[in-house]
Symmetry: C2
Subunit: 454 residues, 2 copies
């Protein structure tokens, strides 16, 4: 890895160090995806099968995975893996359940009670990639919060292997989350199927999950079309930023950098440290560990565009990190808690020497579907609320109308919206002639958590 000293490089080099590789959605991907979307919209299941043959080299067959196949998938797995799926799901469930959005109501004025009412999204579509390898962990990261939200219909699409089947580990993870509708279809065509619906795949209200440039572009195109489904977030290449102090363990830091670098050649890896010796020791460890990594080719490519940056002090490192807004941020510091308040934005933060990013990827309990490409500037990762709608509700008595109606009359008048005004004045006139009043409830705020529990 190349090492630079922040204070010694100019603005251009700094910007280049922090620039992510551009997402691969060039004109070719854009038009290729548009063609696939159109193909699935017109051809339905038959188009999905044709794309599976063409892109996944899978035999033509039904995209539907039978409920029995899903249910018995876990039994095919080694016991240790089966247990790992259950244990990871338990931790994810524990963390996500504790943070669920509550329904609540509050009396804002006498006789005016406003509420937030939380409802599950009716039909959600989960995309679980299987590019270089199937990702059962993603099935858990999406399936668990969907289940906690109480979504009545959860659809999961995952690419076929060369035998045309869905990966059994992915199916077992789906079953762990109570998912019964799985379809073997991948890439942009899977996103199209969930966005438009086919004979087999139901049309979904919101589509979740990571994927390659084609999947990401497909999510962008379907979600920005008029009346299109929602999406969780744009998902670019994965990235990690590590801030290490003089006491950091070079072996651990190097392992963390490599665990990110092995994701893909476009993954971004950054180390910021105020200590030259740590910078050098990590660089050496990276070389050493890279030599024994099965995915060394991928990791080496990713490291080629990555860097170790030596800062004047840790404050400078935090300033750089906050501007960058990393998906994953590891604080390999002696007093990580003390530094946490300095973190203004990041997807997920790992404190200290014993919290490798790997734990967040699988089983600490937090979600691994996180903002990339700087989206942590404005959003967090997937959580239960991502699978819910928060409606607002107002209950107004005649007394309440009398209390807040004049304010609405004044403001609608200022905006020249006399129809808006009339909807209030016609009622005010009637309320005063009938002298109607009703009892109002207490002004206390009450809150309740809603959603399925499991």
């Amino acid at each position: 890895m190349r090492t630079v000293t922040w204070s010694e490089v100019d603005e251009t080099t700094r910007a280049e160090l922090l620039s992510r590789g551009t997402a691969a959605a060039g004109p070719q991907v854009t038009s290729g995806v548009a063609d696939i979307l159109e193909g699935v919209r017109e051809g339905g299941d038959a188009a999905l099968q044709a794309y599976a043959e063409r892109f996944d080299r899978a035999p033509a067959q039904s995209v539907v995975v039978g409920q029995e196949e899903i249910a018995r998938a876990a039994a095919e797995l080694p016991e240790a893996l089966r247990t790992a799926i259950t244990d990871a799901a338990t931790n994810i469930r524990t963390f996500h359940r504790a943070g669920m959005t509550v329904s609540y109501e509050v009396e804002t004025a006498p006789g005016v009670i406003c509420a937030r009412v939380v409802r599950p999204i009716r039909r959600v579509g989960l995309y679980v990639p299987a590019g270089s390898a199937p990702l059962p962990s993603t099935a858990l990261m999406l399936g668990v919060p969907a289940q906690l939200a109480g979504c009545p219909e959860v659809v999961l699409c995952t690419p076929p292997g060369e035998d045309g089947r869905a990966d059994p580990t992915v199916l077992a993870a789906a079953a762990e989350c109570g998912i019964t509708r799985v379809f073997v279809t991948g890439g942009a065509q899977a996103i199209a199927a969930m966005a438009y619906g086919t004979e087999s795949v139901p049309r979904c209200d919101k589509i979740f999950g990571p994927g390659n440039a084609w999947v990401t572009e497909a999510k962008r195109q379907v979600s920005t079309a008029e009346g299109g489904p929602g999406i969780d977030m744009p998902a670019g290449p994965s990235e990690v930023l590590v801030i290490a102090d003089a006491g950091a363990d070079a072996e651990f830091v190097a392992a963390d950098l490599l665990s990110q670098a092995e994701h893909g050649p476009d993954s971004q890896v950054l180390l910021l440290t105020d200590d030259d010796a740590v910078a050098q020791a990590v660089a050496e460890q990276v070389e050493e560990q890279l030599a024994v990594l099965p995915r060394a080719d991928i990791a080496a490519k990713s490291l080629g565009s990555s860097a170790i940056v030596v800062t004047q002090d840790l404050d400078e490192a935090f300033a750089i990190s906050n501007d960058y807004a990393p998906e994953h941020l590891i604080l390999a510091l002696r007093e990580p808690e003390d530094w946490l308040p300095k973190v203004e934005r990041a997807g997920s933060v790992f404190l200290g020497d014993w919290a490798p990013e790997t734990l967040g990827d699988y089983c600490s309990g937090t979600n691994h579907v996180l903002p990339t490409a700087g989206a942590a500037r404005w959003t967090g990762g997937v959580n239960v609320a991502s699978f819910q709608i928060a409606m607002t509700v107002q209950r107004v008595s005649p007394e309440g109308l009398a209390a807040v109606g004049p304010t609405a009359v004044e403001l609608s008048g200022a905006e020249g919206l006399i129809g808006h005004q009339a909807a209030v004045t016609r009622r005010l006139a009637r309320a005063s002639t009938t002298g109607a009043t009703t009892a109002t409830t207490s002004g206390a705020t009450t809150a309740t958590t809603t959603g399925a529990t499991s």
Copy 2:
């Protein structure tokens, strides 16, 4: 308004009745917006001034509104309007504050503590339209939650009047929310300024607010570009759906339909009722009230594509409403509370005869920036969380690593990600040789609300 009986029309007519007018973003708007974005990116403030002359017929002048002008704006207003702004802000504040996302932490396994930490978005951009009239209420609906979230920098853009100045009512509403950075620029160019930054306007992390087809298209383009800002939601033409029973007050229902219809010629208005007499009475009232409406031309156009639908019963009406997923839903029913559980999706719901949509637009306390075009299928409206990032954090002791590490090892192995696995196994090896253990904290979930209070 045309009246149809649902059971007597075929699928095509049903689909047509529920289809929203397409958003105006034809190829002309798409390329026109792209040109403006490029113009602002290259020309900065000078481009904003040129567009103001061209589109707003405003004199060329600085886009910056002085802090003094903002501070003294309220004093220019009639006292009743000044009070209305304060009263509306108070109710909005009361409702929004009660629903703020809390930071919390939970021990998911011994020695593994996962937390959600809420942070304000650093720099948010609010767009306040002033097409047919300036909308100070939108300044409140965006400014109050931004303030509650604790956003350190809040930027507001609003189009100039023909005198080149920002509307004083909008400025007074901005001041009420503590906003000190206001710029007079509108349309796609304002969105460009907040997305890219100019000499005067700071580059924002997330952009909020409704607008015409140009503004909406500009938000779409900047937010889907690589590394672009977030946006609140796509904002199409406004819409209301009313469900009325036999006891509904035709005058009130008609007034509510008209208050929506006057928004714009593309607004959508639907009445569903199981009672023929109510359908007829409302149709008559609409004609009568339309005659005295200042914006009758606009409302008449909107009503041309709207309808009264007679259903067999209220259950059928709720099924239609849930498929449509309206921005605003008024339940003009005798027992609205009993029917609320049937509402699966809508932006904001108004219960009973005394809750006109107008109250939600201005001062009940709920937000009026709500999902349109069926987006209520997958999202709610703007709230304090829209102005915040929820980061996750994990604290792991050596004991915690020993507890969950093996699960991560198993799953990363199944996914073929050996670099991920090594980041755990290298630590596990060290943790066991050092015999390190640390005390773990209590497993109880603790929660705290964060954000600014005011």
